[in-house]
């Protein structure tokens, strides 16, 4: 079948871009990955093909999807868009504390996840500390927290602390969302509609769900 040369050129362009992208992924060359993604920002077809490759690599890695992450991201977005976003959760969970994260790091060490032997004393001192964590777990916020606590600890410890705090926050948010989902009534005219798999949004004023 003979194709017009412009079509062939365009197709070849896509093939080259995808080869560049896949090779960069395999090489951890994030700079090249970013360059190809910049092209995809103005090319929906390239974006689609890159997404197909990402899905294939995800499957290749044997990773399984996490349904509850929809709820977690929803909660994150609601923190940044307080007005106009639905807040159906009935009661807020207790805020996470510094002591909660220190306990998580200690548990990680017990289960074989590498932690920081030189900072063990710092972590021990923080167990039971009831200081609430910052709302946004940015690097700057954690640095301020470390200074305020005066607990010492290496830069790497506080980096691990931030990662553990993020994981705990997301796990708690998804657990709370599951609880909220169980408390919701089944089909009702107007507002609440049954959730399926945690991937549909609901709005409290009856607007159609935003589909994924």
């Amino acid at each position: 079948m003979t194709r017009p040369s412009s079509h062939n050129d365009r197709e070849r362009g896509y093939e080259l871009a995808l080869h560049r992208y896949i090779k960069a992924l395999d090489s951890a060359d994030f700079e090249t990955v970013a360059e190809v993604l910049t092209l995809a920002e103005t090319d929906p077809e390239l974006d689609r093909r890159i997404a197909a490759v990402n899905d294939a690599i995800y499957a290749e890695a044997g990773l399984t999807p996490r349904e509850q992450q929809a709820q977690t991201v929803r909660k994150l977005l609601a923190q940044h868009i307080p007005s106009g976003m639905p807040q159906p959760e009935p009661e807020a969970p207790a805020p996470l504390t510094v002591g909660d994260v220190a306990a998580k790091l200690q548990a990680d060490q017990a289960t074989g996840r590498p932690t920081l032997l030189s900072d063990r004393d710092t972590n021990t001192r923080l167990l039971g500390n009831t200081t609430p964590l910052p709302d946004r777990m940015t690097e700057a916020a954690i640095t301020r927290l470390a200074t305020d606590l005066g607990a010492g600890g290496s830069e790497r410890y506080w980096e691990e602390f931030r990662h553990a705090a993020t994981r705990l926050g997301m796990a708690r948010a998804s657990g709370h969302a599951r609880l909220a989902a169980r408390h919701q009534r089944p089909t009702q005219a107007g507002t609440n509609r049954p959730r399926r798999g945690g991937t549909r949004w609901q709005s409290s004023d009856g607007e159609p769900d935003a589909e994924q």
Binding site: H19, A28, E31, V53, N54, Q69, A70, V73
Partner: protein, 208 residues
């Protein structure tokens, strides 16, 4: 600018002026699972999760990505796909992690550490040249394809010799489009490596 273009531009400006945070929030909600899979793919292929869970690291990165994106909703252009824009944030987060993960500062600059510029393009062009239907004899093509494993041979033949594109190759080998493209890409690299190794051996043999 035509009337249609003006209307689209006006619409874009109006949309951005009204509620960029909501628009971006909706876009993230639609694409978050696809973005998360993309981030997980980056984490897995780069090995940055180390002994940790890839999904955990991907979730952390996604968290950072959402924070960064929502800090500047006005930077998002709603007329463009949001997924690559978000995935770019992820590459910046992962670049930082990669630098921190290095046990000691590298004696090489970041630029020097990157794979050779144009390397991927050269590999693809080489494969096209070596296997292009008009230029080869069947014997020569078979010799070249013998340099690689049978699984690579199959996709290289379909793509470069027979001229099938990713979607068509996928249909022929019974897999997804993305998986077919990944196989073609990796086979292309392995062919280039094997070809250069064979050429080097031949040249060494000629000099002796």
């Amino acid at each position: 600018m035509g009337e249609h273009d003006l209307t689209q531009a006006q619409s874009a400006i109006a949309t951005r002026a009204v509620a960029p945070a909501h628009i971006l929030g909706d876009a993230i909600a639609r694409e978050y699972e696809s973005v998360r899979r993309g981030i997980a793919a980056m984490v897995w292929t780069s090995g940055l999760a180390g002994h940790g869970d890839v999904n955990d690291v991907a979730d952390e990165v996604l968290h950072d990505v959402v924070l960064r994106a929502m800090a500047k909703p006005e930077a998002y252009d709603p007329t463009r796909p949001v997924r690559p824009w978000l995935l770019k944030f992820a590459t910046y987060v992962l670049m930082n992690r990669r630098e921190k993960a290095m046990r000691r500062p590298s004696p090489l600059s970041l630029e020097a550490r990157r794979p050779a510029a144009g390397g991927a393009d050269m590999e693809y062009t080489l494969a096209e040249r070596l296997l292009a239907r008009d230029d080869f004899t069947e014997t020569r093509a078979a010799e070249l394809l013998d340099l690689v494993a049978p699984a690579d041979r199959e996709v290289l033949k379909l793509h470069y010799v027979e001229g099938f594109r990713g979607k068509e190759v996928a249909a022929k080998i019974g897999t997804t489009e993305g998986a077919a493209r990944a196989r073609i890409s990796r086979a292309t690299t392995r062919l280039a490596v094997a070809y250069h190794a064979a050429e080097h051996t031949t040249q060494k043999g000629g000099r002796q």
